[in-house]
């Protein structure tokens, strides 16, 4: 074994506390990274399997064609088409499928809401070898008085075959006897969804399908060629219908779901990388300090003939060893993280069918790059410095420290500026779309953090003196010692506080963003919308049009409009188009009209926001051709131009929508206004009475809506903080280990203080308050940087989302209190170490 390897190995073993801290930081980061990948991969595999299983026996599916790819629902297809297909040669089984909103009711008439999933009513013609549904117990429902439900819901609600149960659909409330519990293959649940299963005829009526089904599944006869049958079917299909294979459908469906998985996985990954970045800081700091402590040892090595390169290699090797070992641990940790998260989802009711953990080779490679990469990257500077220690430092350590200094401030300032510029360019110029935005803004922010971390050492001494002042007043000698110890090593203070700074900066920038979002929302609700009620959907499928119809019928309400949406293509570009009742909309919303009126918006007319109007070069009276997914192309006449984009850039009337789309109408939400002279209490009672049969409709007053939006914003803040928990934990660990190393360095000093009469309690206190000062300092810099980033971020967001900056002082106070707690926590081990050292031995230490 070479000398370098030997010394590196010994060093890892001899410095256990440090080794463990570093290993923990890397392992945690790698676990997080691996966990994010594994979770996303596993979910993807699960959904792929799920949809494959669902479509396993479907050879062909008949459905209406889509002109372009969109998430809009396809137009339904006439159930009579099924009969014409039955006659086609080679067709064995034909099953029309229908899936609409339906939700089970408990005996008191309240809806049974599953923990996380949607609720569906589906048609089923029994086990004909084509559907993915399997009977767990009982027999398929037959007739209007019967239904089946999924076994997971049955078990949870204590329902079983023979029980009578009511269910709610868009057409009303129905009831029936449970004839079966069903599952999907071996699973009891359908990804957490609640299922009400009816026979086709019942479903067509009760689910409000109007004689139309979503699609028609076909199984070909044994020995028949699928492609041939497909061609034969296509010949009998009405125009704008298509026949595709079951495999294609499975792929499309899982691709759609996987879009969400991708977003979710990427989100997790971003936080995993933040954690890794923070770990890099800690590792860098720890190596920096230990190299200072090993200065004589390293100089001695140089004196007996080690080259600078050998010293550097030795330290790099040490880091590599730690990085590699922790990466291995991290991969296993990541599997645990993924399992834990899946268990968490399951507990929340997601009900994944037998999710198997998928560890792709790519994940392992990324883990190694991250784990070994961050360790090696964070040791570049310390090892370079170590290699510059002159051999004389073995005798005169002070010479070694001089040699180790670098021009940190200049570098720090440059990095800060570059980071800031990149961040701003990323947000405002946005080259390269979303990827460019994330890369530039993210990379810029990271550089900014690096720069600020090194610059913050210049303000560390004065700022910590101020932070320490009340502590000194309160705790006398221990407080004074803490204050001095922090102030005398500004560089170390700033680097050990930096990790916390990053976490706090991210939380506080989110806080600024969230407060601004809320303020802008309040602004919009106050100035642009004069609605008294906002009805939102809780079923994930959009509101049934029945809801707005019922509300419109109440005399206490003056104006009611649903807000619907559809996508259409203009010159090949996909646009989101909103559809409203113009008369009601005019009374409810002030879109800041520049030309034309809202109330007069007629059939095949269009209201355009001024920006797209300018882009298209159209004015009032111009026409625009819009193609919809079902193939309909409609020429719309611009009837008005408006400025406020709260309700989107394109608006048409509900009548126009009905003209161009056959898809079942679903409303995003409904807004309504009280009639003149009707009191709030009267109005509330009337609305409540009208909405009683529609629990999926969530009726909120203006104020309640704002509260719920605020709750959502706060929840976002909480989730982000939770995702930063790993990073913050590592930051606290970093402060702890820096402090422990500091205590070790000051062994002699502490021994002397103890010898002249400082008691254990005072020793503990001085270390404890030192930690608190450092973490408050980190929080302080973090709040400043984060608020700044939050402001830039809020300014970068389009005005229709954030139009107003706002700050939330209570979050700053919470962060500062958190910092004190973090400091106390970080001090546990070092203060114990400091107060329990043997006084005599301590003094004898060189």
């Amino acid at each position: 074994m070479s000398a370098g390897t030997l010394i590196a190995r010994r060093s890892i073993r001899a410095r256990w506390g440090r080794t463990l801290a570093i290993a923990f930081a890397i392992t945690a980061s790698v676990s997080f990274v691996v966990g994010s990948f594994v979770l996303a991969d596993s979910l993807r595999a699960t959904f792929d399997n799920l949809f494959q299983e669902l479509n396993a026996n479907v050879d062909l599916e008949i459905r209406s064609a889509q002109q372009f790819t969109t998430d809009d629902a396809r137009d339904p297809i006439d159930v009579a088409v099924a009969d014409s297909i039955r006659g086609v040669d080679g067709v064995a089984v034909v099953e029309p499928t229908l899936q609409r909103y339906a939700q089970l009711l408990d005996p008191s008439g309240k809806v049974i809401t599953p923990a996380g999933g949607p609720t569906f009513g589906v048609s089923w013609e029994g086990d004909n070898g084509i559907s993915g549904l399997t009977i767990k117990e009982g027999r398929a429902p037959n007739g209007p008085g019967e239904l089946a439900i999924d076994k997971a819901t049955a078990d949870k609600e204590g329902l079983g075959v023979g029980d009578k149960v009511s269910y709610l659909t868009d057409s009303g409330t129905f009831s029936g006897t449970i004839t079966a519990t069903v599952g999907l293959g071996s699973a009891d649940s359908f990804g957490g969804a609640q299922l009400t299963v009816l026979d086709l005829d019942t479903a067509l009526v009760n689910l409000g399908a109007d004689g139309k089904v979503d699609a028609i599944d076909v199984k070909v006869a044994d020995g028949a060629d699928v492609a041939t049958v497909q061609r034969s079917i296509e010949r009998v299909l009405p125009p704008n219908a298509e026949a595709v294979t079951g495999a294609e459908v499975a792929q499309e469906t899982s691709d759609q779901v996987n879009q969400f998985v991708d977003v979710f996985g990427t989100g997790l990954l971003i936080f995993a990388f933040i954690t890794a970045f923070v770990s890099g800081f800690i590792i860098n700091n720890v190596f920096q300090i230990t190299i200072g402590q090993r200065l004589r040892e390293l100089a001695l090595l140089r004196a007996v003939g080690a080259s600078g390169r050998q010293v550097r290699r030795m330290i790099t090797l040490e880091a590599f060893g730690l990085g590699a070992l922790s990466t291995v641990l991290g991969v296993f940790g990541g599997l645990l993280v993924a399992r834990g998260l899946i268990a968490l989802f399951d507990a929340a009711g997601a009900g994944f069918p037998d999710t198997s953990i998928v560890l792709e080779p790519r994940t392992v490679i990324v883990a190694a790059v991250v784990g070994i990469g961050i360790t090696m990257a964070s040791v570049i500077v310390p090892s370079r410095r170590a290699s510059r220690i002159p051999p004389v430092a073995a005798m005169r350590p002070e010479l070694g420290f001089v040699a180790m200094r670098t021009r940190r401030l200049v570098a720090g300032a440059i990095v800060t500026m570059v980071g800031l510029t990149t961040f701003v360019i990323g947000l405002f110029v946005r080259p390269g779309g979303t990827t460019g935005l994330i890369a530039l803004a993210g990379g810029g922010a990271l550089l900014l953090f690096l720069g600020v971390a090194s610059l913050s050492s210049t303000i560390a001494t004065p700022v910590t003196r101020v932070i320490g002042w009340p502590i000194e007043k309160l705790f006398k000698i221990p407080g004074a010692l803490a204050r001095q110890n922090v102030a005398r090593a500004p560089r170390r203070t700033s680097s050990s506080a930096s990790a916390l700074m990053i976490g706090v900066a991210l939380v506080s920038s989110t806080a600024v963003f969230a407060s601004s979002l809320r303020a802008s929302l309040v602004n919009t609700l106050e100035s642009a919308i004069s609605a008294d009620y906002i009805v939102t959907d809780q079923s994930f499928q959009g509101l049934s049009p029945v809801v707005s119809e019922k509300l419109a019928a109440i005399p206490e309400l003056d104006a009611v409009t649903p807000v619907r949406g559809v996508t259409g293509q203009v010159d090949g570009n996909t646009k989101n188009i909103g559809a409203v009742d113009p008369v009601a909309f005019d009374k409810l919303v002030n879109p800041d009209l520049l030309q034309g009126t809202v109330a007069d918006l007629g059939l095949n007319e269009l209201l355009l926001q001024k920006d797209p109007a300018k882009d298209l070069g159209v004015t009032v009276g111009s026409t625009v051709d819009v193609t919809f997914q079902n193939g309909v192309t409609q020429t719309l006449t611009v009837a008005g131009i408006y400025a406020d984009a709260t309700f989107g850039n394109w608006l048409i009337s509900l009548d126009t929508l009905a003209e161009v789309s056959d898809a079942p109408a679903r409303d995003f939400f409904v807004i309504a206004k009280l009639a003149d002279g009707v009191g709030a209490a009267t109005g509330d009672a009337a609305v409540e009475a009208a909405m009683a049969p529609y629990p999926q409709a969530n009726v909120q007053t203006n104020a309640e809506f704002l509260d719920s939006q605020e709750a959502q914003i706060n929840q976002l803040l909480l989730i982000i903080t939770m995702l930063l928990a790993f990073a913050i934990l590592i930051a606290i660990l970093g402060i702890s280990i820096t402090l422990a190393l500091g205590v070790f360095e000051r062994t002699r000093e502490i021994g002397l203080l103890r010898a002249v009469g400082m008691n254990k309690r005072q020793t503990r206190r001085s270390v404890r308050w030192e930690a608190v000062i450092v973490s408050i300092f980190g929080a302080f810099v973090g709040i400043v940087v984060g608020t700044f980033l939050g402001v830039v971020l809020s300014l970068a967001v389009p005005d229709d989302v954030i139009s107003k900056l706002a700050f939330n002082p209570s979050i700053i106070i919470i962060i500062l209190i958190g910092a004190v707690i973090a400091g106390l926590f970080a001090a546990l081990y070092p203060s114990y170490k400091a107060s329990n050292m043997n006084v005599l031995e301590a003094i004898a230490t060189e």
């Binding site: 070479s2 000398a3 030997l6 010394i7 010994r10 060093s11 073993r13 001899a14 004589r296 040892e297 001695l300 090595l301 140089r302 004196a303 007996v304 003939g305 080690a306 080259s307 600078g308 050998q310 002159p390 051999p391 004389v392 073995a394 005798m395 060189e846």
Partner: protein, 262 residues
């Protein structure tokens, strides 16, 4: 020590004015100057030192605190650089070497023993002894290393860490390390400064034996007249200059010489 002091010998001649590398000189310096600081706070740690150390001899360097002994030793051993002048080992001028060559020189041609903190704390005694060879990527002369280890009497403590060894044992390991690679010259800076007289005597005899039996060249800085008496020659330094020398010194002669200083 118990014998009464003999009359003081005549003051030795001043150091030779011409020193050349090679020949019988294992190492030396020519008009070596080392200045610290600038302006008013300038310190001339070495103020024109020309001295040579003969091969196969044990030379002691003595002088008051701050006279530049350590500085001289560091510059001779290639641990530090001069402000002006030259130092050489064998026929190699150190100034002509880059960092890589200097490192190589320290590893293969020079041994160094400090007053304290000689050993890497995480390595065992044996590993510390073999360290220069390991750094060079070779195993060294095994027989010779075994011999050195037996001679310093550390055979049974080889697997111990420095923290488990006494001060004297640590210095013996340091001496063994310096000898193990058979360097051209060993520099020792107060190697017995931290030891009691008995342990110190052991180390010193051991160093003298190495010179006598193996022809090792050793240059040692010391404040102790007894330690100096182990040497073949003493060079006296004061204020960064060579102020005198003494051949085959006895303890009493050295004491007398030092007394004459005041």
């Amino acid at each position: 020590m118990s014998t009464p002091a003999p009359p003081a010998p005549p003051a030795p001649p001043a150091a030779p004015t011409t020193v050349v590398p090679g020949g019988t000189a294992a190492a030396g310096s020519i008009d070596a100057r080392k200045t610290y600081g600038i302006g008013d706070s300038q310190v001339h740690a070495l103020d024109g030192v020309s001295v040579s150390f003969e091969t196969g001899k044990f030379t002691a360097i003595m002088g008051p605190s701050g006279s530049g002994k350590s500085t001289l030793l560091h510059c001779l051993a290639g641990l530090d650089t001069l402000t002006s002048g030259a130092t050489f080992i064998g026929d190699t001028y150190l100034a002509s070497l880059d960092d890589k060559a200097l490192t190589e020189l320290r590893r293969t041609r020079v041994g160094f023993i400090f007053q304290a903190f000689n050993l890497i704390p995480t390595l065992t005694a044996e590993e510390n002894i073999k360290l220069p060879m390991m750094l060079g990527g070779d195993t060294g002369d095994k027989e010779w290393i075994d011999h050195v280890i037996t001679t310093v009497g550390m055979g049974d403590r080889l697997k111990h860490r420095p923290s488990e060894l006494s001060g004297g044992q640590q210095q013996r390991v340091a001496v063994a390390r310096a000898l193990a690679s058979r360097p051209q010259i060993i520099f020792a800076d107060e190697p017995t400064g931290n030891l009691d007289s008995v342990t110190g005597a052991e180390i010193l005899s051991f160093m003298r034996n190495a010179v006598r039996d193996f022809g090792q060249t050793i240059v040692m800085v010391t404040h102790d007249p007894i330690a100096a008496s182990y040497a073949d020659r003493v060079v006296f330094v004061g204020d960064g200059r060579v102020t005198g020398e003494m051949i085959d010194p006895t303890t009493d002669q050295v004491i007398d010489h030092l007394r004459n200083w005041d």
